[in-house]
Amino acid sequence: MAVNKPKEKVLPGDLAMWFFILAELTVFAILFIAFAVTGKLQPQMFSDGKATLHPIAGVINTLALITASYFVALAVSALHHGRQQKAAKLVLWSMLVACIYVVTKLWEYHALGEAGFGISTNTFYMLYFFITFFHFMHVLLGMIILAFVALKANKNGYQDNTNGFVSGAVYWHMVDLVWIILFPLVYII
């Protein structure tokens, strides 16, 4: 009689990447709590500051990162089925969509600069620029990692071990996860 073994639970990607992700998430959590506490202490300054932001740009950025993550998730699935070229193509699409985020964010910074707001204007802008730029740098790093894994997948470099590709994908999803909290905190609440 065949016995159905319970499915083994496996952590996707490298364990080291998960520890790195935990460290990153902790740093962002501290920044988010600092933003919320300061917003609570100085409600007028934060409400005036938020009024100068562009919520539509925030929505565009959220949709861009979600779409990019969707393509990356499909890429990992394609890779697990041995379709490396398809995985590379999906990652490329992901990077193209992520460019929408990069352009929109740069436009936002430019528009705020033109309006005379900068990191030294007040505590709101200091925290806004610091947190969003810190996240922006993570997006850029994520795109570099995605470019690297896409190039390798295009050369069939993940025949035996897909851990590198999956770790890159997981990092990208972490960047998306952080934005999921950042977007309402900075633009909505």
């Binding site: 935990l22 779409t67 969707y70 998306d176 999921i180 909290i181 609440i189």
Partner: protein, 91 residues
């Protein structure tokens, strides 16, 4: 199998997109709302964050099949942090 995952990921993608639009609309209504309604809207927005986070962790990161500790850590993060933020603004 690939088709099955693609369907699940596509469902998550549609849900994430829909919730983003809903939270943006709630944010639009928030400044016009009375105190009680505004705090309800705040919690609704944070609920969308938690649902979105769970989709990313379970489906995109594929932690649904991962060891409980790691899944718990990530789901805990995406559930507890919005609640802390909510409490800071609400109290």
């Amino acid at each position: 199998m690939l088709e099955h995952y693609a369907k699940k990921a596509s469902f998550s993608f549609v849900l994430l997109t829909g919730l983003t639009v809903i939270s943006a609309l709630l944010g639009y209504l928030m400044p016009m709302a009375q105190t009680v309604t505004a705090s309800s809207l705040l919690w609704l927005v944070l609920l969308t964050v938690i649902i979105k986070g769970w989709q990313i962790v379970d489906i995109f990161m594929e932690l649904k099949q991962a060891p409980k500790l790691w899944r718990g850590l990530l789901l805990g993060y995406i559930s507890i942090l919005p609640i802390i933020i909510g409490l800071i603004y609400w109290l």
